[in-house]
């Protein structure tokens, strides 16, 4: 601790023969030169030291050997005096003995020395330490130092009041009774408000004085019983990320509550705080779900909150996993009530439509949506199909919407055979459904023949319905004219038509025609896939039967079991 200047302001001169007022001017008879007005607090303290230790000051300036015999004696006495002063009164006589003591006191008396001189000479840095910027507080001007001093007093006062408050909180918790009034101790709202103000003031002062980073949580009354576990980065670290101090603080509290497995409203708020800074932290989301389930909080409320977060973080994956967990948890509570189920399905769809209008091909949202259809049994829901049709009308190239349509139509458990793979034929799918979907896809192909989505869809529907690809030959041929009849004559409105036509011809064992399609694709219409079309041509010649083009592949007998 820095000397408070107590001794310096009241140096007690034992001999007053030559002094005027020792507190204002240097009056000792010895060698110290008249110092100038101090500019820094260090200087001031050093001057004060010298004022009370004239022999020591003189020795420092000139060296012991250059002092007069008188002064040397004075210095020795001064040293011994300070040495003995440090000892307990009872043992002082042991050190020197009565005779020596007497001589010292006699000398001290004779040399006008100040008995209560300052013990240590103030030094830069070590005496006051540094401020938050690493500067020596001793280098402060007097005014600045005084201001800092006032702040420290203010902080101490606040800390005392804060401790009183915390003790009262503790008393209230234990149901203590106030001894004077005889009433139970109650911490009022007002007192809590006052404490909040106090804490923010304390935090500001601490930051100002010491640069201590105290985040919201350390200041908060709510978190005072938690000891945060700050994380340590070992040596050799890679991929360190510059993150805000607030994040580090929040994570250290998260670590603490996760260790004790605390589930509470404050933990829920903590997860919200972290999610606001980093919505991609999967552990935080999982911990949030655990809190919601443990506290049995309202799932619709959580979903409402989640909607906001999802809209603000479109590319986030964890949000959708969280939603998935919430629905899994919520579903059993409404599954027996068809109205509640329908209501919930509608709410979910409304939100999904809203978020997909912002980001039409968001993979996580579509993935959640297809899962939700199965979970809530939305297969027969006309609105679902309508909203998909609307999206395809808005952007016929939106492959995500096409994909969802396929699931919606062909995974309906009402007729779909369970366990059938997507690429497998399913006899149970009604013929009129297959026809309807083929027609739907064809109408969309007319809008943009080079759009691959409806071509893939149509082919997928035919396979699912177990129909030969040749059943759409007429339609496909509309997009290809005079193939191979000369550069000028030949017209291809869609490479996908030519591709499918090759398959149709191969299916009908018209390999030459199929080969022509593939050759024209490779030569002219789709050169960037030349290698692929050539491979398809090779497959044609290698397999006279309808064997798949991958026949060069070695068939492993073990199959899956080999794994």
């Amino acid at each position: 601790m820095p000397p408070k200047g107590k001794a310096a302001t009241k140096p007690k001169a034992t001999e007053t023969t030559t002094t005027s007022n020792p507190t204002t001017t240097n009056t000792t008879s010895q060698t110290a030169s008249q110092p100038s007005e101090p500019t820094t607090v260090l200087e001031r303290s050093q001057q004060r030291f010298e004022k009370t230790r004239p022999f020591e000051a003189a020795r420092r300036q000139q060296g012991l050997s250059r002092l007069s015999k008188e002064d040397q004696k004075g210095w020795i006495c001064d040293q011994l005096l300070h040495l003995t002063n440090r000892l307990p009164a009872a043992s002082r006589s042991c050190l020197l003995g009565p005779k020596a003591s007497k001589e010292i006191w006699w000398t001290v008396n004779g040399t006008n020395s100040i008995v209560r001189g300052l013990k240590h000479k103030p030094e830069p840095y070590t005496t006051w330490g540094t401020d938050r910027n690493g500067h020596d507080v001793g280098s402060y001007t007097i005014e600045r130092f005084d201001e800092r001093f006032r702040k420290r007093i203010a902080l101490t006062a606040l800390q005392v009041s804060s401790r009183v408050f915390r003790e009262n909180v503790e008393r209230e918790k234990r149901g203590f009774v106030d001894a004077r009034s005889g009433r139970e101790i109650i911490v009022t709202e007002r007192e809590i408000d006052e404490e909040k103000v106090r804490r923010s003031k304390m935090a500001a002062l601490k930051k100002d004085l010491y640069g201590a980073i105290t985040g919201k949580l350390a200041e908060s009354v709510e978190w005072e019983d938690v000891v945060p576990i700050p994380h340590e980065e070992p040596e050799g670290a890679l991929a360190a990320i510059t993150y805000p101090a607030e994040y580090a603080e929040a994570m250290s509290y998260l670590r603490a509550v996760m260790t004790t497995k605390e589930y509470s409203p404050r933990c829920l708020r903590l997860t919200e705080h972290i999610i606001a800074m980093n919505p991609a932290h999967y552990t935080v989301w999982l911990y949030r779900a655990a809190n919601i389930f443990a506290l049995d909080l309202s799932i619709p409320d959580e979903i409402e909150w989640l909607n906001e977060v999802a809209l603000a973080n479109l590319k986030n994956y964890q949000i959708w996993h969280h939603r998935h967990l919430l629905v899994e948890h919520y579903y059993p509570t409404i599954s027996s009530d068809p109205d509640a189920l329908a209501q919930f399905a509608k709410q979910e769809r409304d939100f999904l439509i809203a978020i997909l209008s912002e980001d039409t091909k968001n993979y996580h949202v579509w993935s959640y949506r297809s899962w939700l259809v199965g979970k809530l049994g939305m297969w027969e829901d006309e609105e679902e199909l309508k909203s998909i049709e609307k999206m395809i009308d808005e952007d016929v190239r939106n492959n995500s919407a096409w994909s969802h349509r396929f699931v919606l139509v062909f995974s309906n458990p009402k007729y779909a055979t369970p366990g059938k793979a997507a690429t497998e034929k399913d006899e149970k799918v009604p013929q009129e459904l297959v026809d309807r979907e083929v027609k739907y896809a064809q109408n969309k192909v007319y809008l943009a023949p080079q759009n691959q989505s409806p071509w893939n869809y149509m082919r997928g529907v035919l396979v699912k319905g177990g129909q030969p690809l040749a059943s759409v030959q007429g339609f496909v041929e509309e997009f290809v004219n005079k193939l191979g009849e000369g550069e000028e004559e030949e017209e291809v409105k869609s490479t996908h038509a030519l591709d499918l036509l090759a398959e149709i011809y191969a299916e009908k064992k018209e390999n030459e025609k199929a080969d022509l399609c593939l050759r024209r694709l490779a030569e002219k219409w789709d050169k960037i896939r030349g290698g692929y079309w050539e491979w398809r041509r090779k497959c044609l010649t290698q397999s006279e039967t309808e064997k798949a083009p991958g026949e060069q592949v070695e068939k492993a007998e073990e199959g899956i079991a080999a794994a």
Binding site: E235, A239, L286, W366, V492, W525, G559
Partner: protein
Amino acid sequence: MENDNKAHEEPEQEWPYLDVHRHLRYWKMCIRAPLPHVYLSNESNRLALAYFIVNSVTLLTPPPSKRTPETPEPLISREDKRAMRKWVLHHQHPTGGFCGTSSLVFPLNSYDTYNFDTKTLDEPDHAGLANITSTLFALQLLALLADEEDEAAGENVFEGVNRVGTLRFLKSLQREDGSFGEALSDLPGHGRFIAGGYDMRYCYIATAIRWILRGDVKEGSPGWVEDFDTEALARYILNSQTYDRGFAGNSQDEAHAGYAYCAIAALTLLDRPLTSTSSSSSSSSSVPHKSPLLHSSIRDLPGLIHWLASRPFVYLEPPPPSADQDPDTYIYQEDDLDDPNFLLPPTPSDLLCLLSQTAEKKGHDKTHVAFNGRTNKVADTCYFWWVGGALANLGRLDSLVDREAARRFLLEKMQHRIGGFGKSPGSPPDLYHSFFGLAILGLLGDEREGGKVRGFDAGLAVPRETVGVIERARRKLIESEKGGKGVVDGGKELDAVEMGLELRGGGERPKWLGACGY
């Protein structure tokens, strides 16, 4: 952007070329300097970022045998490697598996779950902090950080890895349907459950961890761990083929190139031989082996190839934002490209017409070919890798893709002037895309990149030398578990366990020790 650099940087090279100097400068920046705040969203998975960095640096650092006196000092020194390996190991969870970030590594005593009511130790609750993704990245990192100057030391990179615990952790992440989740979590009212979406990535990662650690330990021998259900996993993967013949997280989702890669690579890894030499002589090829399982099991293999071959498309430069700018010299900023690069004209004839016009103007017909990840989506650097990697595992990378035009697109349009690759033309580089850009170049093995980029393994996504390290390190780790040799002596470890129990004051044997493999 290229011309100013040509002069001092190997002037004989014909543009486009991989500007190794700038890429290395970019990666140097990423190694030690803290990453900017935008990476905060990756805080929970910092090992992934570390993997991108170290893998890229390794790809660009010639192996010792190919170094010449002119080769610059490797960016990561031997001492740094040692410290980094230690850092990676620090993420290991006490019962196996790895955490994604040091902020999820708890002080050891907090794993100790003493129950004051029953006065026993419960099973550790914090299993949720280890993560399947981080576990693979940690193992790959340890191998990537092997000291290449000293092959014997390289064998020891897995020293300290809790092999048995990690394999058990892996098994605990498999769901009933065969798929994998990413982590274990305790949910009140639901018990311990497997968290994570139905995501093909986890399935791939599971097979990679299995291949790296499991080895050929026979049942009953020390170090044997019950395998996860490979058949169920394979069935799950195979059922995820979609109606348009690609692959998705499951068959109800939209086909996606990233998931197609994961599905294909996972099947390949399930029957991949444990050492490269014992199979075909393909140690110099990107394809580790011709997986019988992969080729025999996929329902519509030609369809899958069709879907993959549909991912490349002709990249057309959008018109400059204002008429007075020259389209040939204008450098696009990300903001200019609302719909970055899916500007296909309505009919094939229009496209051909446009291409011939451009060719006439430029005096050559060198097109750019970009890759998308889904039908009708825009170009993205990483899909060149996901599609290329998938095709490589199928053994078809060479014959199906217009490599020249694709390479041209990558190097001319995606290479950034400060080094690294961006996500789309004009966008700034990031760790993820910068790594995958290099990975696909390593996979293509173009001789113009010869010596600049190491050959890359399409299944394990590390340079081929690193696969060798993994094989040797696995053998060493298993040997040491069998007892006798090695630093992690099995017998000694058990002695240590007994000693630890004694230090606890004897009493009941904690249940979790079993979970640790003792």
